[in-house]
């Protein structure tokens, strides 16, 4: 093994790999492009019935009573459940993988109890023999609502006189603790240095407020599942999610079932972006399956997806940035007010931790407020919380550059975080590649290309931690020497390809002999969900270790066949080689030959590894965006876009580039047109792709990418997470471009045409 480790290390330094860094066709590609891949809604079981959900038409109301008798009396209706059918859970916060979890809130979000807290909040669910009967049954459920005053906006929700969503909600993190309930769920503060002193030293200060709208992850596949419960109470769930083990755990909590009685099979996933890291339908489907005795199939409509799942926080962000005349940052302060939706748990604290982390700022402080209002409970969305804080910071930096008459790229480079820079949340950065992304931006032809009239160029950077965590992998050698690589993480970004590449690299074998498999909860040991940009890093590390374990066994088997000591066997190019001085002439034993004889040397060859991966490498990106503004309509056209990122090591560069492109496009949508629009009664007005305006292909230029590779020393191949960083810079990159094109500082997202035109005309009127 020592030889192999050294070889890997040498490989990192010399970049000599057989598979790592190549672009083979993805293992799941053929099924996806031919429509064979089975997504959440695609399973069909004998006797399966349809489940549907009755949802609140009110933003905020007390449920006086629910009468389901007329629905139950309808022929074809097999089960009806309401909140009363689910256990009351303790109001306590459990440690989660990325953020703390309160399962009482998860449960009350899955199905309302005493109150409905947003338009679309689930109130009851029905299982029936057809979708038509289920729909008719929903119309026969009588809910007696006492409509209550509601609050949508985050600043309104923080007001003293705001309608309170949760009567028992006392602000966490404030000393002394308030005595009165409010919508302010919590306050978190991060600080380093002395900001008062810092601002006293500043020669120029930029201070502004910024807002961003609530936006949805916009995955194309709606939430979907099938649940089946056997007569002895064992539940099986097939569903599309970012983590089969997460679904198992959350369902066991919400349903008070033994985790050992639930098996979850991951379906193919049609996009998640963080939004499928929780449960909505699954516990309802299990409850309906328990009562009906039939498998229950549930699929959300697009309207339900918008009204009742997702989004991430709309925010109010206040930034104060102090610098010397030479551009060096001396102090930074931010106050973040994030919508949590109907239940506590916004990613405000993650905004506070990430907002300043691209820079060396000696004195910095972030105050983060988590605020509930009558909107759907927010869910994780790609680098949760970071894009909004970063939008404020990167806009302020752009304005600072304008006021100092400095190049905004040079200003960033001057203050760039590097190895040893302390973060506001404590640790110092180890090896990072932020400055390298700026250098790559500077060298890119995009940065110096000429601009036409009404055009502007924006630049912005972004940071995300990336995480490691618990992962399992098993490598099974088949009788013919081909290999199965089983992991427990749904493939949302091409991770099957990366797992296969890493296993093939370690084993030195042909890639097409490696078949990646995503196991269900009964087939592979626990793995934390696919999120936090962790899978290629952490699960990849487990795969590498499992493959190394198999290599060790293969050497032993070869030694046994050769009747020599294992220390005289090395593994190279997919075969065992004898290094014993007097027997070096022996022909190598291939993987296939060893596998074929496994029965004679000790039985099947298989390696399973479960780890808690540490050492995730932080990720940094820098994006450049050119826009043209139509000064008469406020229309914005994105002309050119380049995303540059330190990716550590790209195992499969095409899918890494795809991550950069996808993140950039979601960020462009967030910046330009996406937003949740509510009417005066708190009902969502644009619960569909027509009026929730995600960009379409023709809105966008090809997103150019540059992969900067500063390897993460904690990973055998140098991997850093890459999936989340690319959504952090675009909000400010676009807004800075628009601000420069229009000659106005735009601080509120989205930069929709009516808003931009009003600003342009307002500035004209003001002279």
């Amino acid at each position: 093994m020592g030889n192999e480790k050294e070889a890997l290390k040498a490989g990192i330094e010399q970049g000599t790999y057989k598979w790592v860094g190549t672009r083979p066709i993805r293992p799941d590609g053929a099924d996806k492009v031919t429509g064979r891949a089975a997504f959440g809604a695609d399973l069909d079981l004998p006797g399966m019935v349809t489940g549907t959900v009755l949802r609140s038409p009110h933003a905020h109301a007390r449920i006086r009573s629910i009468d389901t008798s007329a629905a139950r009396a309808l022929p074809g209706v097999l089960a009806v459940v309401t909140g009363a059918d689910f256990p009351e859970l303790p109001n306590e916060v459990a440690a989660g993988g990325e953020a703390p979890i309160n399962f009482r809130h998860i449960s009350e979000n899955v199905i309302a109890r005493a109150k409905v807290l947003y338009d679309g909040h689930a109130v009851a669910a029905v299982a029936a023999t057809s979708a038509e009967i289920a729909a008719e049954a929903l119309s026969r459920i009588k809910v007696d609502y006492e409509v209550l005053p509601h609050v949508i906006d985050v600043l309104d929700a923080m007001r003293e006189d705001a309608p309170v969503l949760h009567e028992g909600l006392i602000t966490n993190g404030v000393e002394p603790a308030p005595t009165k309930a409010s919508n302010i769920a919590g306050r978190v503060e991060f600080a380093m240095g002395d900001v008062a002193q810092g601002f006293a030293e500043a020669e120029i200060i930029i201070e502004r407020s910024y807002t961003t709208a609530a936006v949805h992850q916009g995955y194309i596949e709606p939430h979907a599942c099938v649940a089946s419960v056997t007569a002895d109470g064992a539940a099986t769930i097939w569903c599309s999610s970012q983590g089969q083990f997460m679904v198992r755990e959350f369902c066991s909590k919400v349903l008070s079932m033994d985790i050992g009685n639930i098996r979850v099979t991951p379906a193919e996933i049609g996009g998640g972006f963080g939004g499928k890291t929780t449960v909505y339908l699954e516990p309802l489907a299990v409850a309906l399956a328990q009562r009906s005795g039939r498998p229950v199939h549930m699929v959300m409509t697009r309207s339900e997806v918008f009204r009742a799942s997702g989004p991430t926080s709309g925010t109010h962000v206040h930034i104060k940035l102090g610098a010397k005349r030479d551009g060096s940052f001396v102090a930074g302060e931010m106050e973040l007010k994030y919508q949590a939706g109907a239940f506590p748990g916004s990613p405000a604290f993650l905004g506070g931790m990430t907002g300043f982390s691209c820079y060396e700022i000696p004195h910095a402080k972030a105050v983060c407020w988590d605020v509930v209002s009558n909107r759907p409970k927010c869910a994780a969305y790609r680098a949760p919380g970071a894009p909004m804080a970063s939008f404020g910071v990167e806009s302020a930096i752009d304005e600072l550059a304008q006021q100092l008459n400095m190049d905004p790229l040079e200003l960033r480079l001057k203050n760039a975080a590097k190895t040893g820079t302390r973060t506001i949340y404590g640790p110092k950065f180890l090896e990072i590649g932020y400055a390298e992304t700026l250098q790559a931006a500077k060298a890119h032809p995009h940065w110096s290309a000429p601009l036409g009239p009404n055009q502007g160029r924006g630049i912005a950077s972004g940071f995300w931690f990336n995480i490691g965590g618990q992962s399992s992998a098993a490598v099974h050698v088949n009788e013919n020497g081909s290999v199965s690589v089983v992991t427990g993480n749904p493939d949302i970004g091409g991770s099957r390809a990366s797992m296969a590449i890493m296993a093939a690299e370690v084993l030195g074998m042909d890639l097409d002999q490696v078949k990646p498999v995503i196991g269900d909860t009964g087939q592979i040991a626990y793995s934390f969900l696919t999120g936090g940009s962790r899978v290629t890093f952490a699960t990849g590390m487990a795969v590498v270790q499992a493959a190394e374990n198999v290599v060790e066994q293969l050497r032993q088997r070869a030694a046994k066949l050769w009747k020599i000591d294992v220390e005289h066997v090395i593994w190279r190019d997919g075969a065992a080689h004898c290094t014993k001085a007097d027997e070096a002439a022996r022909a190598p034993l291939s993987l296939a030959e060893i596998a074929h004889q496994a029965g004679r040397t000790g039985g099947p060859i298989s390696g399973g590894v479960s780890i808690n991966a540490a050492g995730a490498g932080p990720g940094f990106g820098t994006h450049i965006c050119d826009v043209e503004v139509d000064p008469e309509t406020g229309g914005v056209k994105v002309l050119r876009y380049t995303a540059i990122q330190d990716v550590g090591r790209a195992i499969h560069p095409s899918y890494v580039e795809g991550q950069l492109q996808g993140g950039a496009v979601q960020g462009i949508g967030w910046a330009l047109n996406e937003e949740y629009v509510y009417d005066a009664k708190g009902r969502l007005q644009n619960a569909g792709f027509l009026d929730y305006r995600m960009p379409v292909c023709s809105d966008l230029p090809m997103i150019d990418t540059v992969l900067v590779e500063v390897p993460n020393p904690a990973h055998p191949y140098g991997v850093r997470g890459v999936g989340e960083v690319p959504i952090v810079p675009p909000l400010a990159a676009v807004a800075n471009a628009v601000s420069r094109a229009a000659g106005l500082r735009m601080t509120d997202l989205p930069l929709s045409p009516p808003r931009l035109l009003a600003a342009i005309d307002g500035a004209k009127a003001a002279g």
Partner: protein
């Protein structure tokens, strides 16, 4: 329990009969790109749907010496491939082509776009500007009305029970005439007009505007035919002053609403901008033929 009766008559007379025998709430289906969406969303529950796509007269495009007769159930893609119509009425062609996606274009019809009665329908301002008329058939006979007289409000038409549009009549292009249609959407496709303008102009030999029709969409309960816009152009050489007057007249005619797609201020201003830009394109086309 939500059974819908479906009829696909093969002649106009059969269709009239089917509609007259149907209970209240019966709907006509041409392309179905609006109706089926409304049906699925539960916004409408018609007891009977009468599909017009089986009627040959409604599916054909005829060119005579004086004009085009376009069946009300001709799909966007079919009209888009009619080279002569596209050459003579590029504005109408472009407007129709803007509706939906390639898939939608394979189904969507002019008759459906008009009778769905959305204030934002793309083909309607272009048809009004072009002076298009439609033939309406029903139990009490056949009548011919200008396109701008068909829609009476959002989702409402002046068609009587059992009536439907069989075809559109559009004149042959006159010398030195041109038309254009522009809409504003925040994206580049797959969206609904926030404001729109259709313009049709005729110039004399000296380049002075002798006739003009200007129609605005998505800025009032129905598409508007704005006489003051025409007045601003007629008799002028379509110089900047005339175009500015046109824009002002267009904005003055707007009576829009605030909604998720745009504000009153935005629609009012942008309708003027679009009218001016569409007039500029129409003028270029008129000068070119």
């Amino acid at each position: 329990m939500n059974a819908v009766e479906y009829a696909k008559p093969q002649s106009i007379d059969d269709a009239i009969r089917a509609l007259n025998n149907a209970p209240a709430g019966a709907r006509v289906l041409a392309g179905g790109t609006d109706l089926l969406v409304q049906l699925r969303a539960g916004h409408v529950r018609p007891p009977v749907i009468v599909d017009l796509k089986g009627i040959a007269e409604l599916r054909r495009i005829e060119v005579t010496a004086t004009g085009f007769r376009i069946g009300a159930a001709v799909a966007g893609a079919e009209l888009g491939e009619h080279a002569q119509f596209a050459a003579e009425w590029p504005g109408v062609t472009e407007a129709f082509h803007l509706i939906g996606s390639t898939q939608i274009q394979g189904r969507a019809t002019m008759g459906g776009n008009l009778c769905n009665a959305s204030p934002a329908a793309d083909s309607v301002p272009a048809l009004i500007a072009a002076g298009a008329r439609c033939v309406i058939v029903g139990a009490s006979g056949t009548r011919e009305v200008a396109v701008e007289e068909v829609v009476s409000g959002p989702g409402k038409t002046t068609l009587a029970k059992g009536e439907f549009i069989s075809e559109f009549l559009i004149a042959r292009r006159q010398a030195h005439s041109g038309d254009a249609y522009l809409r504003f959407i925040p994206r580049t496709e797959m969206d609904i007009a926030v404001a729109s303008a259709g313009v049709c102009l005729t110039l004399d030999d000296k380049g002075l505007c002798t006739a003009a029709r200007v129609s605005l969409g998505a800025v009032a309960p129905t598409a508007l035919l704005v006489a003051d816009c025409a007045k601003a152009l007629i008799g002028t050489s379509l110089d900047d002053a005339a175009l500015a007057k046109l824009a002002a007249a267009a904005s003055a005619a707007c009576a829009p609403i605030n909604d998720k797609r745009g504000t009153i201020e935005f629609r009012t201003k942008v309708a003027g901008v679009l009218a001016r830009r569409a007039a500029t394109i129409a003028a270029q086309r008129a000068r070119g033929n």
